[in-house]
Symmetry: none
Subunit: 201 residues, 4 copies
């Protein structure tokens, strides 16, 4: 088999297994059995167990970033709101297509070791930074009310992650339109949950 093809095949099986059972409960034996290859073949393509997981995670993080575009403010572009919703929708769709990846991101890669933790931190930090930029700009334009934008961005990240959770772990929502969820989470983050002009007593 062609090296690239074989590597992709192994990665595919590994992704499924890591997603199903987590990093520690997936053994090299499991992977090679699923891929139908010999033990040595695995090590022809990956240095060790850690590295195949890392490759998987790196690929996932890149794919996510690849689905997020900076908002295009030119007149011909869709409205900013549309673009934001598009971004969120595309990420939801990514996980809809590769469900295992959600497990890997939300469970498998969490707390594995210091290096993986740092990798995730950095990834989330990059997302947050992106959002801080937009919020800061929004403040300048008078759209965003005065607040700690880093804090707000972090909250947006949490809202977004939990929206994914709701969509993918609540069976009632497994068919829900990604676009609708994207709009919903964006709305809550922008306008909050209270009626206009109302405050908690």
């Amino acid at each position: 088999m062609e090296p690239l093809e074989r590597k992709a095949q192994i990665l595919g099986h590994a992704a499924r297994l890591f997603g199903q059972s987590g990093y520690h409960d997936t053994s090299i034996s499991d992977i090679i059995a699923a891929a139908g290859i010999a033990r040595g073949t695995f090590y022809l393509y990956f240095e060790n167990k850690r590295s195949i997981f890392e490759e998987l995670l790196d690929g996932l993080l890149s794919q996510i970033l690849g689905r997020i575009s900076a908002v295009d403010a030119s007149p011909d572009a869709p409205s900013p709101r549309e673009q934001l919703i598009d971004n969120i929708t595309r990420v939801i769709e990514l996980f809809a297509d590769e469900r295992h990846m959600l497990e890997i991101l939300f469970k498998g890669a969490v707390g594995l070791d210091r290096e993986f933790d740092a990798k995730l931190q950095d990834f989330y930090e990059a997302l947050v930074d992106e959002m801080i930029g937009s919020l800061d700009q929004g403040q300048v334009m008078g759209l965003v009310r005065p607040c700690d934008t880093r804090f707000a961005a972090r909250i947006a990240l949490g809202a977004f992650k939990e929206m994914l959770h709701e969509r993918f772990y609540n069976p009632d929502r497994e068919d829900e339109d990604p676009r609708k969820l994207a709009a919903e989470v964006l709305d809550i983050f922008c306008k909050g949950v209270l009626e206009d002009g109302v405050a908690i007593p």
Copy 2:
């Protein structure tokens, strides 16, 4: 040593180690070395490695729940807003006192196995249910605008978790007043980040 005292002592060391190194990278050997006990003694107090971790996690989840009170609507009680902020503040303070517990909750217990995942799910689900109740009531009272309250509650949970993250993993915030953070996250969730009457174009 008194059995209960000894058990508590072992739990303490285990909490620290699990928090520092995670479940898999903490061995029974590490725990007994830290506690200064013999291998067999450990198994006098805990059935196995899993069970000591479970005990730790259960204790943590109880403590969290114990710090959250339902909003008391009686006239003598503090305002609902105060009570909500109090709840959030108490949870922040819990983690400020026992930092390891945050690691255990956010990293150590994530993706460990199906059973632990379910336990965490149930815990978060309980929190969400609580919030749904409040939001539903808010809708009835005309405070909360029409929306999917389960979805909104989930978002609130995500916002809250990420606030904890921001507080405890961002060195710039390690001394920030828990009360202020509690108010801030509550505000964003209630009013959103946009200026009144404004919308994203």
Copy 3:
């Protein structure tokens, strides 16, 4: 079993196996099978395969050094010649008692890795230094003819090693009196093989 006893037992089996089959052809499985212990038990007493071999080699080198005494020049002591022969004899007897050790020293530990090589080098160097001292002193006393004493000492070492080889690998000599061999090698090193006053043409 008492730890020290068990450790000694394992060391004994390992010595035999390393002596018979060499370092690489002796597996942990071989050792534990011979010792009748479980795999984990081995690692209770030795960090790894290398370390048990090292312990064996260190022990051997110490034993050798322990059987060599500096020549005592006091009037009550036996004659220097007797003392030198005693030293050599004791070393021959050591290997006669623990034949495996000879294999370990002459074959098993040779060329294993840089660290073991250095250990052996250092050991031989120490022996050579000892001999250099004696030869230098002999020169001062007019006993030893002018020559490069370091070179001569090295030659003495080679002569001694090959004498051991002859004694232990030539079946005709396996019962030969250690004392006689000691005297013989000492004589050749001191007087050479030529008749007095004769030279190679």
Copy 4:
């Protein structure tokens, strides 16, 4: 590439690697990487790892033997002493030219397995037999004093090996004249280290 040329090229790289890292720490991968050939190509020229090492060792032993000539007693020939020194010098020069070979002979091939051990034994035995012949003849001619000539020959071998060691592992001697060393070791073996007419007390 011409088969013989290719084979020689592979042998050259293998010799260097075996000399540097020893038999076990040199992998087929190392050899083919150094030689710039494919894995399968290696097995076109050598049956297996053992056989390339054997070929190398056999070549080395032949070369050594090829540099040793029986002493020519005819009147036109150089003096016997000259011839002996010439023999020794040529062997020293061989190793000076191919240092790796020394490592292979003194470390790499030692204790590898029973068969290689036997091969080395046989080689040394042949050298010893040669020397026994000369010593016996010397005794007949009244040059060599009465002694066990096999034992003496063995000692000579040991002296010679250790001389090589001194020359090649002692940095102070790396430029020393081979001829001088040859004379020196021959002298010690012939006349010993003591002054004429002196004995150890």
